[in-house]
Symmetry: none
């Protein structure tokens, strides 16, 4: 779930009213003199060409890399298409993209075979002839000769170029790229293999786009939190982020955690950082308790750093999470410095024998109960001789739930030298999601203890 | 890595020569009388809606899952679009898709917030009114009430439905889906979160599409194996699968396991099953030792079933895998029947205290050694009183490796009443991949023991 949150007044100047509605702005044009005038953000579309990306097995990852590069140049990606070796659909896709966007980048379909149709269809849409470029052909032949191979005649197709196109050299492969300026639209044809596409973009496309964009600089920051629902976060954060047009804020929900992405568009890096700091500080003011990272650090990395900082160690006693908490803690290289041991006590017998949970306690309260969670936490802390012990017991489902103890019910407890504290949760979702949330909650419990 | 392996002659009949080239077939039309005549394949387009997938951080993976399901129904995916919270572009995308394709499926954008625009724009294109459905609203309120939370008023938006749409219930979330028949086009709106989208498609969309598709029957079978590299599998399997045009075979590498997907297209189920059985039997002939599943069963499910079948129980002692083996074993509902307990003994001290590994053994061979793996396996078996005990110790990296004991070195041992056996592995890849492969290898060790 995503909220792209922009302030009430668009930053861009009025000639781009159309673009504003594209950006989801609900407000009309404002006088450009009220606000810093930044170059209007250019819009890009990316077209990935190749039938393999229309199978269940392949995803277009080139566009992620390109998006990062384009964003860094101050260019927004507005739409992505994946199309197969399908001439009619590709033609329509290209036409639509060129109508809507200032920059159109395609990847793939520049190979030598029949079904590599990119060149042909772009030429058709752009009404330009494809002619054989002798210089490229020579280079192709030389490339094959160097490897003592005759060039298959179909490869000659890769020397076909459009009139008035800039040829983009491809030192890592056979297919050159092309860059065409058509009216207000910059059209770029890149090869599909990342090790050919990436250097071609960086060396020959980025400089051209940079010139087109001018001095815009885009900085991002990610704040991550756990323990609040999306709407609760929105309620707390909206009064802050809505004050700002720049940075803009996006809220994402991911594996039970919530990410706030701040994006600022400036012409000067120091100014950008200052703006990000300003908004970050205010968001910490209302969400501080829940925010665990303002970098790319994961929750387990934050917990690891806190344990290290406090010279503390931890041991885990898990039931419903079945070892996943220990697994997350040990994702972090070097975690052996603070993670001493874990036990997965699935059976009552194991809870008694390994953790010293008493039979009476289990009989009186049941395995999924606060007293048992506490006894597990204390038991494992004593067993391992650690600063902290954590115990988790719950019902991950799908079976085993009851009216009184439903699927999703999880008790967890944290034991330290000051005693033991417990929390009760009722997590939504299926077995996997309940286990993921429980592990997040346990990590967060440690974080809050050490903060 | 993907190999899409098709026989030399296309199965489809001649009017669909165009489609053949889309599928990457290199061979020309064959006489339709040689082959079963199958209904023309229906075309689908998938539209993923959400600005998060236009950032460098998120990729649309829903479409991969949907493509697999659609292909299985005999439906071809011809184009995929990712569009943000951008009304004009979404509208154009929907219009174009409906013009070109018989089935249009959207995912995402059904949330409660302002920028979840899917409902609104589809209603606009389809010229249908959105009206508040009291029944859905009631269910939404009940869902929140169950968790003792008041429903935020913005959630009421999720009860808006188009006239004459089939409402698709969403037991795993708040947003219902919709299915609309508009002329020749079936339009389907699904929520974005996979755990909501997937069951909704399987339960309410697939049956409708199946009816539309008619008599084409596509049967698939997945064979999964662990312990061989992709090229070794190909060398063994190629002499078999290349004999068959139908079924076609695709080999995929995934999380250290290899999947062979057999796809057969027939008009008669018995005939399809017979063909699949025929190829499967031959593949078992050459790969039998490594194949662990010919259904969708995961390795942990296969191991669980074997443990159950042998009335056996298991306990785990993990070091480098840090609880992930226990986590995988307990992914399976009901695993408490055979998984008794696990320990994560990261420190030497824990290995000694909990598992009875002797100080001498650790000093002489080091923690990452065959004797220590054996002692861990025997120790945890004794501790838990289980049929089997498994011990894992290794170097997951990135640090901690040496000339003699490189990163990726993992010893694992399996203890039973007949004594203990050990294996040494050197796994490639980064920390995460090494840990994943080690967990797979440990599960496979149990499988081979019980087979």
């Amino acid at each position: 779930m995503l909220r792209n949150l922009c302030g009430p007044v668009p930053l861009w100047q009025s000639p781009y009213a159309k673009m504003k509605s594209d950006l989801g702005f609900k407000f009309a044009v404002c006088s450009p003199v009220c606000f810093p005038i930044i170059n209007p953000m250019l819009n890009a579309e990316i077209i990935a060409i190749g039938s393999e990306m229309l199978t269940p097995f392949r995803v277009d990852t080139n566009s992620l890399w390109l998006t990062e590069r384009l964003n860094a140049l101050g260019i927004d990606v507005k739409l992505k298409t994946v199309v197969g070796d399908d001439e009619a659909r590709l033609e329509e896709t290209i036409r639509d993209a060129m109508k809507r966007s200032e920059i159109v980048i395609s990847t793939g379909g520049l190979g030598p075979t029949e079904d590599d149709i990119t060149r042909k269809i772009f030429a058709q849409v752009l009404k330009r002839e494809l002619t054989l470029n002798e210089e490229i052909l020579e280079k192709l032949r030389a490339r094959f000769a160097k490897r003592n191979m005759p060039m298959p005649e179909i490869n000659a197709r890769q020397a076909l170029v459009m009139n008035n196109a800039d040829i983009l050299p491809n030192p890592n492969g056979t297919a050159p790229g092309m860059l065409i300026q058509e009216g207000k639209c910059t059209v770029v044809l890149l090869p599909g293999p990342p090790r050919e596409m990436r250097p071609m973009f960086d060396n020959f496309v980025a400089p051209v786009l940079k010139q087109r964009v001018g001095d815009v600089l885009i900085l991002r920051r990610k704040l991550t939190l756990f323990g609040l629902g999306e709407s609760a976060v929105d309620e707390l954060a909206a009064p802050i982020y809505t004050k700002y047009k720049n940075p803009s804020t996006t809220i994402l929900f991911k594996d039970g955690q919530i990410e706030l992405h701040l994006t600022v568009q400036v012409t000067n890096e120091a100014e950008g950082r200052q703006l990000l700091d300003e908004v970050t500080a205010q968001l910490y003011g209302v969400l501080g308790d829940y925010l665990f990272s303002q970098s790319d650090d994961t929750l387990e990395q934050v917990v690891g750093a806190l344990l290290r900082q406090h010279n503390a160690s931890v041991a885990t006693a898990e039931s419903c999470t079945g070892g996943l908490l220990a697994g997350r803690l040990t994702e972090v290289p070097g975690s052996s410095d603070y993670f001493i041991e874990g036990v997965v006590t699935y059976s009552n017998e194991a809870k008694m024998r390994m953790l010293g949970v008493s039979q009476e306690l289990l009989a009186e309260h049941g395995a999924v109960s606060e007293p048992v969670a506490c006894a597990m936490a204390e038991g494992v802390r004593k067993l391992a001789g650690t600063t902290l012990g954590i115990g988790i017991t719950g019902i991950a489902g799908p079976g085993g739930g009851s009216e009184e103890k439903p699927v999703g019910l999880v008790y967890m407890a944290l034991a330290s030298e000051n005693g033991v504290t417990a929390r009760k949760f009722i997590f939504p979702g299926d077995r996997q999601f309940i286990r993921t949330l429980a592990v997040n909650a346990a990590l967060d419990l440690i974080r809050r203890k050490l903060r």
